[in-house]
Amino acid sequence: MSLYILCLILFAIGLYCLIVKKNLIKKIVGLGITEYAVNLFFILLGYTKGGEAPILSKDTPITNFVDPLPQALILTSIVIGLGVTALMVAITVRIYEKYRTFDINEIRRLKG
């Protein structure tokens, strides 16, 4: 249970970073932290005590496996996270090229 709470604290740190920081790079960092916390929480939910990795073996039959379903979901989620990060970095690079700053207050003021 304490692992769940630590994982939720990690999520809250990412959320705080996403709200408070006005730097676009810091916002990307915050979104990355939240994504890590969510991925870890799913895998924690699927862990079986004393379980083995869900890979069948030819010689020794194993019965006590970890839940494979969260692992399959998170495997796609990690690659999606990379795509999202790349898209955000591309947009950030374009914004920097146009306005020469990462501060979103400054960008809002420069718009008109």
Partner: protein, 172 residues
């Protein structure tokens, strides 16, 4: 299970460091350290597929993020935040933690999951698909639609990046 706690606490420290450092390059590298900690957690939680994928994805995302931070003219941009945002974020995070703590009582205890679908997949994976790696059997056979959607999302993201960053056809 003490090692899981230690690595998770180190990840929290890394996240705070990544959030509070002023130098953007150092901040991005601290985020990479958090990702490596996540790789170790996956390995300890018996998810080797995820550990390999997270490790290589972490390297690539670090390269991409460093590309965004290197070469900017203000590497240490100090941006003042308003006090209202600060209070709002603290209250929001505290409320989130409180309600999730309440909700934790409904979750299964750590180490004893509800494997309703998981036990079915484990029982029938070898007979129905012939794959020894159950995770591969789930993502490519039982739940192929998920992977199709994931491929679509990745394609959209690549198209988005190429459209945002294209050089030809831009009026200079």
């Amino acid at each position: 299970m003490i090692e899981l706690h230690v690595i998770l606490i180190l990840m929290i420290i890394g996240a705070v460091v990544a959030m509070e450092l002023e130098d953007m390059l150092s901040s991005v590298i601290a985020l990479g350290a958090v990702g490596i900690g996540l790789t170790l957690e996956f390995l300890l939680l018996r998810a080797p597929d995820l550990a390999i994928t997270q490790l290589v994805v972490e390297i690539l995302s670090l390269i991409i993020l460093i590309r965004a931070t290197v070469g900017v003219s203000l590497p240490r941009e100090r941006i003042a935040t308003r006090i209202g945002y600060f209070v709002f974020a603290l209250v929001f995070a505290a409320l989130f933690l409180f309600f999730s703590y309440k909700a934790l009582a409904q979750l299964p205890v750590f180490g004893f999951p509800i494997m309703k679908m998981g036990s079915l997949y484990i029982k029938e994976a070898l007979a129905k698909t012939g794959a020894a790696n159950i995770v591969a059997a789930v993502i490519l056979d039982f739940r192929g639609y998920d992977t199709l959607g994931e491929a679509t999302i990745l394609f959209t993201s690549v198209i988005g990046v190429l459209a945002v960053l294209r050089i030809k056809g831009r009026k200079t």
